[in-house]
């Protein structure tokens, strides 16, 4: 740890404590995650990187409450997190928009489920549509939109809940390079403006260095935490676009360090 951020003594917003996950029976099945502990402070953007199949998505699924860990627990503000709910919004890799509902219905879904008043729904909806540049697509069905637009809808659907924690599972993995770049920059901007608390799973080291305040590197399966790297937060290169950032010596240095760690896991497999 480079110690560039001061030690935070406040209880973490989201804490995964000593998580172990077995698929199939314990000892005989597959161990996806082995004794992982992870904390995300309020307003912090934590990226998890690791070789594919290392259990990083499992970690997210457990963090969201969609799956129960074999051992360990998930805590929000030091209290057991319980079943999935609107305090923890998720952006899935494959968007997971409801194909039978329009953009508008998809974004409103969570608000309707949690009993937000119709007027409030409408105002939050139009705010999100504006922020994500979706105003012209209110009545469109997901299959009428490009992948990039679909993921914007998925992000809007998560943000409209005003979640305390945002979990993103390789949200840009299924997008083409140009669209990915644009959305990475938008997420960067949103995080800077609104200080979301984010747990972000990715296999892209560049993405992690550009977006993260902290990068957690995982080992190959069974996934353990290999190393945690603190990144500087208020530096100029993070405020610009990702191409520019990628030319900055500091970015290059972090990328090399993190990539080295990931490579060890891949090559050593």
């Amino acid at each position: 740890m480079t110690g560039q951020t001061p030690a935070n003594t406040a209880p973490p917003k989201l804490e995964l404590r000593k998580i172990t996950k077995w698929f199939g029976s314990e000892g005989a099945g597959v161990c996806a995650v082995d004794d992982c502990s992870l904390e995300v402070q309020k307003g912090e953007f934590v990226c998890v990187v690791g070789p594919s199949g290392c259990g990083k998505s499992t970690l997210m699924t457990i963090g969201a409450g969609l799956e129960a860990p074999t051992e360990g627990g998930v805590f929000v503000d030091s209290r057991p997190a319980g079943p999935p709910g609107p305090t923890r919004s998720v952006v899935f890799q494959k968007f997971a928009l409801f194909p039978s509902e329009t953009v508008e219905q998809n974004i409103k879904f969570g608000l309707q489920m949690t009993g937000v008043s119709a007027r409030e729904q409408e105002s939050r909806l139009s705010e999100q549509l504006r922020i994500m540049g979706l105003e012209g697509f209110r009545k469109a069905y997901p299959n009428e939109l490009s992948g990039g637009m679909q993921q914007r809808v998925a992000i809007a659907r998560a943000l409209v809940m005003r979640p305390e924690i945002l979990l993103m599972d390789e949200p840009f993995g299924a997008l083409d390079a140009q669209t990915r770049t644009i959305l990475q920059e938008e997420v960067q901007r949103l995080h800077r403006e609104k200080h979301y608390t984010v747990l972000f799973i990715t296999h892209s080291v560049e993405e992690a260095v550009y977006l993260g305040d902290r990068v957690v590197v995982m080992t190959k399966r069974p996934g353990q935490i290999k190393k945690v790297i603190h990144l500087p937060r208020d530096v100029v290169w993070k405020t610009g676009d990702i191409e520019r950032a990628a030319e900055h010596p500091e970015f290059i240095e972090f990328r090399r360090e993190i990539w080295g760690l990931v490579r060890e896991e891949i090559v050593g497999a």
């Binding site: 699924t61 999935p84 919004s89 998720v90 899935f92 997971a96 409801f98 039978s100 879904f109 949690t114």
Partner: protein, 274 residues
């Protein structure tokens, strides 16, 4: 050859071509029929009546009661029996199918019974239906029900079991309970498969209906055909058979067309496929 000729006379879109081919094939059959009966007289009228005879008989039954009712009356009675049978099969079959897939314990419990019933042909229920309901609409409707029911159950179950887990997860993340998840996510996703079930149910039910009417009843299209046999009127049989065929095609077309209206999000998918 036909393709070129069609393009020359201005039929270029695939849809129009399909229609043109349909028209050509049907009129070829009609032409062959006219040739074989009226023109060349290959086949005796008591074996195969000419189109003119069938048409004459058609108008005759349309205006004069045959076995108590005019043709529209027979059609209506048949449609009514069929409609009730399919309707009850639908409102009972779809929920059971959805429940089969949604609650696996229920499937384990109920499936043996379902499998057993599934292998009893609908016509085997005719005697039972007669004893239970006598000479009412319910008798044939029950046979239609038995024929239509399994495809609702099977296809609803298939549709629900193919719903992607990630969509169910998303619904949970955004606070949906079981019922809301079913209503807003699972059932819409299963709808195309349920629709397929509906189409199969409709045609199975239609076939079972005519079969049941041949055996039991004093009105209906199937009964009309059997009366044609009694009276040695091949033309009547043909009127009945052609009416049954045309009605079947019409109903199926209406159902098929209604899909994009009832499932609007499927419109693009269907356009892309065809």
């Amino acid at each position: 050859m036909i393709e070129r000729w069609l393009e020359e006379i201005g039929v270029t879109s695939n849809r129009a071509k399909a229609k043109a081919y349909g028209a050509i094939s049907l009129s070829s059959l009609l032409l062959l029929w006219i040739l074989a009966t009226s023109v060349l007289e290959w086949i005796e009228p008591r074996v195969l009546p000419s189109p003119a005879q069938v048409l004459r008989q058609f108008f005759w039954i349309l205006t004069e009661p045959f076995s108590g009712l005019r043709l529209p009356g027979h059609v209506w009675v048949s449609l009514e029996r069929w409609g009730w049978g399919v309707f009850f099969a639908m409102i009972i079959g779809i929920p059971i199918g959805v429940f089969f897939a949604w609650a696996p314990w229920f499937k384990t419990f109920a499936n043996p019974v379902f499998e057993l019933l599934h292998f009893i042909p609908p016509f085997a229920y005719i005697p039972l239906a007669v004893l239970w309901f006598g000479a009412s609409t319910a008798t044939q409707a029950m046979v239609v029900f038995v024929a239509a029911f399994p495809s609702f159950v099977i296809n609803s179950q298939l549709g629900v079991s193919q719903v992607e887990k990630i969509h169910v997860d998303a619904a949970r993340v955004f606070g949906a309970g079981q019922f809301a998840t079913l209503r807003r996510v699972v059932i819409p996703a299963a709808a195309p498969s349920i629709y397929t079930g509906l189409r199969i149910a409709i045609s199975n039910g239609w076939m079972a209906l005519v079969g049941a009417e041949l055996v039991v009843g004093k009105v209906g299209l199937g009964f009309m055909i059997s009366q044609g046999q009694e009276n040695a009127s091949v033309a009547t049989i043909f009127v009945g058979v052609i009416t049954i065929g045309c009605l079947g095609v019409t109903i199926d077309t209406i159902i098929q067309r209604s899909e994009s209206r009832i499932l609007p999000w499927r419109k693009n998918v269907m356009v892309n496929q065809g």
